[in-house]
Symmetry: C2
DNA sequence: GACGGTGTAAAGTGATCGTTTTACACTGCT
DNA sequence: AGCAGTGTAAAACGATCACTTTACACCGTC
């Protein structure tokens, strides 16, 4: 594993586990096993590092939403939550910690969310046979978002509940 | 307005706007219009201040969930989001920033969420005429949570979508 | 065999963190 | 008149923040 990959994956873990602001650069260098000089050569700044962590997260998460059914969408989310973490959406957490005041971070967050909504619109369009259903798509998005949040304190079963609700809404829309 | 009230409401605003860790005590003293000595006499520590802010938020939010229909629940949420903020759930943000490592904060967060879920269970029990419906209650909770999160980037319309979805699920459960 | 590239360890930058301290002023009770 | 309570302003605490610097070692390439 090369230096930059090691850095970003270590940073992703620490940010997710302890928060962005609360994670200092010394903890980062120790966790990534490199000197601060090397860290700064690769990352540039803490803001840039956070941005890259979010972009990497986006890249890694992307395949999970590249599906063609609501059923598969929630199956993938459940798998992610079970194996990765149930600490809430890392993008929204970054946005909250920075108050939306850091453009690079805000951009990365909004880009991810826009992509997510677009993909859900595509999926819903397939499932409802091309009907114009922006509201249904938003409702599926909300269930997706809510499941991620609720899983923090109610565990992975929250995803299963959201899953069923999404299928119920879809079924009702088709009739 | 007495000193402590002034302090807590100033702190709530700053924490909500800029995040907990990113908000320093100097900004707090300035915003609350008091010396750091007075601040510490009333708050004790930053952790204690955060805890009190969350408890005050809980107290202030409580009336909004003291309703007896799903319809009223989402109307109240929409009103809150429109007037107060759309920066996500302050409780979950506090939990995320501290990594769940600060017991007093974690307790305040979990207490609020437990209360919310219990209340939704009550409401759903009323609406479905005493049926045992823990899963429906969890789905309403997830819509509530998801609406709060999605409103950050999709605006108050997200609440309206969640509102409709909740009513649809309820209607289906009754039939 | 000199070289640029990439890495290390470790000290040092000034700023800011949460918190405490010192010294003083105003207020309302007794 | 005296005193406890509550407030102020401002300096100082050591720790930690993000970040830079200095000095040195290993590497494959020309």
């Amino acid at each position: 594993m090369d230096t930059k990959t090691k850095l970003i994956s270590a940073a992703e873990q620490l940010f997710d586990r302890h928060g962005f602001t609360a994670t200092g650069m010394d903890k980062l260098t120790k966790a990534a096993g490199m000197s601060s000089r090397t860290l700064y050569k690769h990352a540039g700044s803490k803001t840039a590092l956070i941005t890259e962590v979010l972009q990497e997260r986006h890249r890694r998460f992307q395949p999970l939403i590249e599906v063609d059914s609501v059923d598969a969408l929630f199956n993938a989310l459940e798998e992610w939550i079970r194996t990765e973490s149930a600490r809430g959406c890392l993008f929204l957490r970054a946005y909250g910690e920075t108050g939306g005041d850091t453009p690079a971070i805000t951009d990365a967050v909004l880009a991810y969310k826009a992509r997510l909504y677009d993909k859900i619109k595509d999926i819903v369009a397939i499932e409802t046979a091309e009907k114009e259903t922006p509201e249904l798509a938003e409702q599926i998005l909300i269930l997706y978002e809510g499941a991620t949040a609720a899983a923090i304190y109610r565990g992975p079963e929250a995803i299963a509940s959201a899953h069923k609700a999404a299928l119920a809404l879809l079924k009702q829309a088709r009739s």
